[in-house]
């Protein structure tokens, strides 16, 4: 007998032949079967199981041949899978893996065979045996085998769930599914099969429902569920809901080993890919919004998990054990679970530290904790309504004895201080900051701003203040007039600070939205936008601040050219409209410089992350447009009263009724600028953002569309530009004509764009296509030349 090696060599030659010509499979497969059976050498079984898996997976072997061949291999597969029962030893995992893959491939064919040959219960029985063997090992097998079992189960579910019937007259053409089975089939009653499929689906989804943390199993499950979502509408919603509820970031709380990092990233990114794939296939999906939200949420979550850990910052284990003393911890605890605080408070401290010698601040006076981080915690940023929510339950939960102790301690301190002369820090602060500060002094409030003033003063050398200033009203001398240079510098500094705060808030929002549930964050966002708009940015959050920044840019200089503004100033306004930046600078001086600086920075800010900040651009440009309109109106009014309109008209002829975009100097300039800056960064997939921008900014001109036209110069982004144009044509009637003109120009000027733009023109201006028909062939040649050159 030849050695296994030689046999494998011969088998490989046979394989080479069938790979070259799939027609030979029906002869080769039966011939091979008795060489690779259960009694064969390990090498041969490995080869055999791989070969069978490959054969029934091969796309070049027809479905009918596979259906005929599969009946013969059932016994071999069973012998691989039941080796333990039949021979008494475990089968090699790699043989089992391939056998299960093969079983997954042939299952639909055996199924269809049984549907057609209703009497052949024997074949189905064998398949059922294989199935139960696979299901039995699914939970205990090594993970490598287990994932193959998962895939097998997914295939069974796919087979035993009704699919779409494309053509009821030709059943052999349809996809294999439960829909093929007649209602009263003797061997495989459809109701049983469907029930089995439903149970198996639950078993599959169990991996996600239990929030399994084995990345291998989770990603294998997700990737095999995708087909079911695509092809089996009856169960797709159930699967999607499970995936939406699955939290791949669950491991984030555990210590970050390399493996955990890999697992988190893998599971999260796979979940995102899964959801995006569903969304991409059907953008009108009923769950589309949730799919989108969830992917965004996961994206943020992932960034958050890794940005925190990237800095070497560690999670809970490193935080102080007495939770309430840590500033950050307290915020979380109180806002999420009020009831738990009392239990977590440390036992009462035996005594309170005495006040340090020398001058003390009010804050020091009331600080009983020894923990520097708690003492340094700034309460100011906590929103008022949260404080209002917090205080009652806190007061209730405080241990009465401890509370009394604390009050007594403070009382004792105050009495002690009272015995000392009054020349302390408080006094110095009052004299330095003016008398009115006195009224604010109310120790019972623990007013944070006040504390800070005190604290800062505390660090100054106390004696210098105490002796040199007499106790009289002190007025600051008026500041000397600023030079141009100073003004510029201060403007810049203001700008940096404004955007510095914004960046900080951005980071904060990111952190919050990652930690909380999506719904939460969104409600807040919407609400705050409103309140911020109403109160012009009293808010501490990003939305409010953005509104403030935008208004600072658009409105800060608004009053400078009000109705009282003289003729000359108005002239300058107009000149500036033509794009003369220097005149613009001269006119508004610092205010204007700041405004334009902010605008510049806003452009950069949006472009930095335009996919998420396009709404900022739109909000800003809308404000810009509104402010320009107001300015125009007020100018007109004053012009009407002084009866001097000719000037305006010669500068910018405008059609009656509509306001020409050139009359809105800031809006025109900056909207174009925004679009131009943005356009190089737009990727092929960014059509959504471009369309959103173009559709939501308040006014569009020819120049805007020219920018869009230029985008189409990149052959890859032709689709992007044409989609944007099509959208404008269909859904923005005021610019429809302009957009069609642009499309026509594109069609004439750009070979690559002919396909997509032709479709637009075909509907909206077919005349162009007719007249351009002759030039088409010629144009094709021209394109070739261009590429070659």
């Amino acid at each position: 007998m030849a050695s296994p090696r030689d046999i494998v060599h011969q088998l490989n030659q046979a394989r080479r032949i069938v790979l070259g010509d799939a027609k030979i499979y029906p002869q080769v497969v039966p011939g091979v079967l008795n060489v690779i059976g259960a009694n064969a050498h390990l090498e041969l079984r490995r080869w055999g199981s791989d070969f069978l898996a490959e054969t029934f997976a091969s796309p070049v072997l027809g479905a009918d041949e596979k259906q005929k061949l599969c009946l013969g291999v059932l016994d071999t597969l069973r012998s691989y899978l039941n080796r333990k029962e039949e021979v008494g030893e475990d089968e090699d995992p790699s043989v089992v893996k391939s056998a299960v893959q093969c079983a997954a491939s042939i299952y639909p064919f055996v199924f269809r065979h049984t549907v057609v040959n209703a009497g052949d219960s024997e074949t189905w029985g064998k398949m059922a045996g294989i199935k139960s063997s696979i299901l039995r090992r699914m939970d205990t097998a090594p993970a490598g085998v287990r994932i193959c079992c998962i895939k097998f189960v997914a295939r069974v579910v796919q087979t035993q769930t009704p699919g779409l019937i494309a053509d009821p007259r030709r059943p052999e053409q349809n996809e294999i599914s439960l829909a093929l089975v007649p209602r009263e089939h003797p061997t495989i009653p459809p109701t049983n099969l469907e029930a089995e499929a439903s149970g198996l689906l639950d078993r599959l989804l169990g991996v996600l429902q239990d929030n399994d943390t084995d990345a291998l199993v989770v990603t294998a499950t997700l990737n095999s569920l995708s087909t079911l979502v695509q092809r089996r509408p009856s169960i797709s919603t159930k699967i999607l809901m499970t995936v939406l509820n699955f939290n791949p970031l669950k491991l984030a709380g555990t210590p970050m080993t390399g493996k955990v990092r890999v697992a988190i990233r893998s599971m999260t990114r796979t979940t995102m890919s899964f959801l995006l794939n569903v969304l991409k296939r059907n953008p009108q999906h009923q769950l589309a919004i949730r799919l989108q939200q969830r992917t965004e949420q996961l994206r943020h979550g992932l960034i958050e998990v890794f940005s925190e850990n990237g800095l070497g910052k560690r999670k809970e284990p490193d935080e102080p054990t007495d939770g309430l003393d840590d500033a950050k911890r307290r915020r979380i605890e109180i806002s999420t679970a009020n009831g738990t605080t009392p239990q977590q408070q440390p036992p009462p401290r035996p005594s309170h530290p005495p006040l340090p010698p020398g001058p003390v601040t009010v804050a020091q006076l009331f600080t009983l904790s020894r923990d520097p981080s708690a003492a340094g915690f700034h309460v100011g940023p906590i929103p008022l309504q949260i404080v209002a929510q917090l205080v009652p339950p806190l007061l209730q939960s405080i241990d009465q004895r401890r509370f009394d102790d604390a009050i007594n301690a403070v009382r004792a301190r105050i009495l002690e201080r009272g015995r000392l002369p009054a020349a302390d820090a408080n006094h110095a602060a009052r004299t330095a900051t003016g008398e009115d500060e006195d009224d604010d002094y109310d120790p019972s409030l623990g007013f944070p701003g006040h504390d800070q003033v005190m604290n800062r003063l505390d660090q100054m050398p106390p004696e210098g203040v105490g002796h040199d200033i007499a106790v009289t009203a002190f007025t600051l001398p008026p500041a000397p007039p600023m030079t141009e240079e100073q003004r510029r510098r201060n403007g810049k500094m203001a700008l940096t600070r404004v955007f510095g705060t914004l960046a900080e808030l951005d980071r904060e929002t990111k952190g919050k939205s990652g930690g909380k549930k999506a719904g939460d964050g969104d409600v807040k966002k919407g609400f705050n936008r409103l309140s911020a708009a109403a109160a012009a940015a009293g808010g501490q959050d990003r939305e409010g601040w953005l509104t403030l920044v935008i208004r600072l840019a658009t409105r800060a200089t608004f009053g400078l050219d009000g109705p009282e503004g003289d003729e000359e100033e108005e002239m300058k306004m107009k000149v500036e409209g033509e794009g003369d930046e220097s005149a613009l600078m001269r006119h508004g001086q610092q205010g204007f410089e700041l405004a334009n600086g902010i605008r510049e920075a806003l452009v950069t800010y949006v472009v930095d992350d335009f996919r998420r900040r396009i709404d900022v651009a739109i909000a800003w440009l809308s404000e810009e447009w509104y402010a320009d309109r107001l300015a125009l109106q007020s100018r007109r009014q004053s012009n009407d009263s002084s009866d001097d309109d000719g000037d305006d008209d010669t500068a910018r002829p405008k059609p009656a009724g509509a306001v020409p975009i050139t009359a809105l100097p800031n809006y025109h300039h900056w909207s174009l600028r925004m679009l131009e800056t943005l356009s190089p960064y737009l990727d092929v997939k960014d059509g959504r953002h471009l369309i959103r921008f173009l559709s939501e900014i308040p006014q569009i001109s020819r120049e805007h569309l020219d920018v869009v036209r230029l985008i189409a110069n990149d052959p890859e982004r032709v689709g992007l530009a044409s989609q944007a144009l099509l959208y404008l044509i269909m859904l923005r009637p005021p610019v429809r004509e302009m957009a069609i003109d642009t499309a026509e120009e594109l069609w004439r000027g750009n070979e690559d764009a002919r396909g997509p733009v032709g479709k637009i023109l075909g509907r909206w201006r077919p005349g162009v296509l007719v007249e351009g028909g002759g030039a088409k062939g010629e144009g094709g040649g021209g394109g070739e030349v261009k590429v070659e050159g």
Partner: protein, 333 residues
């Protein structure tokens, strides 16, 4: 080893510096056995016979945007290693884009029906100096020696045997996404029509047109590959590990990335070989009676199969190559 981007291996007993936690070593108990991955472990045990072609080999597939720089460097690396791996390579872009005279004048070619030789000749005639200095010609020269021409991932018919002549170009060019693009350079398809699959480097083992491991070189490509596999509906029921190794698209980084990918491949293959060996050691191969218990006798690290060790292997690899952020999923062909 000399590369500064590769983190130097820590002193002998590697301190688990990122997280001083007991769990690190306890997860599977795998750390001890796995730690020094024997590069391309060749089974030289008496009981095991290596295959004709030097032991079991995983089949690899490298992917980048244009199937020119990063994936081809990795392709070359994997196929010229001391123990070469069966390898194929693809690009996920819509077109092959090579740098042109300026940033907005790229040289654009169609996938699947333009050979590296055609590109080479064309660029050579266009501006020999420019393309020699920016490294494009040397790159194409290298690619010519690896395989015939760039292939597009989305057009790959998974599981269709790669034997004999390459599929005719016309068939693959029907993809609607490439319509409206520049026409193929003249004569590309006809002159090289007799290109054979077996001339590719790393051909042996890839005949069946399937792979075990896909390694992409950019996150965008990973997304494209995973998305494409999800869309195809996994008709083959065959598991595939899809990795991403983020490599910047320039020649230097491609070299570094290629080396890193080879190291990852060696580690993965060693694990796969170990899985097959474990069974033989435990007595399964000899058909002895002790097989049933023998499986449990292997140490924990060796007993864990190949697939479940992948996250560990990747984590270990990432430790050594911290500047090439990696990503992974188990998908289905």
């Amino acid at each position: 080893m000399s590369d500064p981007r590769r983190r130097q291996p820590p002193p002998p007993p590697p301190p688990p510096e990122p997280v001083p936690d007991a769990n690190t070593t306890g997860l599977d108990g795998t750390t001890d056995t796995r730690d020094p991955p024997p590069p391309t472990a060749q089974p030289i045990r008496p009981g095991v016979q290596p295959n004709d072609d030097g032991g079991f080999k995983l089949k690899f597939c490298t992917v980048c945007a244009s199937n020119n720089n990063r994936s081809m460097e990795a392709h070359l690396r994997l196929t010229t290693a001391p123990s070469p791996y069966p390898t194929i390579s693809f690009g996920t872009g819509s077109l092959v884009r090579l740098p042109g005279p300026s940033i907005n004048q790229p040289n654009v070619y169609n996938f699947n029906n333009t050979s590296y030789a055609t590109m080479y000749n064309e660029l050579m005639s266009k501006d020999k100096r420019l393309y020699a200095t920016n490294g494009i010609l040397p790159m194409l020269e290298r690619n010519k020696g690896v395989k015939w021409g760039p292939e597009r991932w989305q057009d790959w018919r998974i599981g269709v045997p790669r034997v004999g002549k390459r599929a005719p170009a016309q068939q693959t060019n029907l993809d609607p996404t490439t319509s409206g693009q520049p026409p193929p350079p003249d004569g590309a398809a006809s002159t090289d029509a007799d290109a054979q699959y077996q001339d590719d480097k790393g051909y042996p083992g890839t005949e069946a047109g399937t792979v075990d491991i896909v390694i992409t070189c950019e996150e965008r490509c990973w997304d494209a590959v995973v998305d494409d596999l999800l869309s195809r509906g996994s008709p083959l029921n065959r598991p595939v590990h899809v990795f991403n190794v983020d490599i910047k698209d320039n020649h230097e980084e491609a070299l570094v990335g290629g080396r890193a990918i080879l190291e990852l491949a060696d580690a993965l293959n060693a694990a796969a070989v170990a899985e097959r060996e474990t069974y033989v050691q435990s007595g399964g191969g000899g058909g002895g009676g002790g097989g049933a218990n023998g499986f449990d006798m292997g140490s924990a690290g060796a007993r864990a199969g190949f697939d479940e060790r992948v996250p560990d292997i990747l984590a270990n690899w990432q430790e050594k190559w911290p500047t090439l952020p990696a990503l992974w999923t188990l998908a289905w062909l």
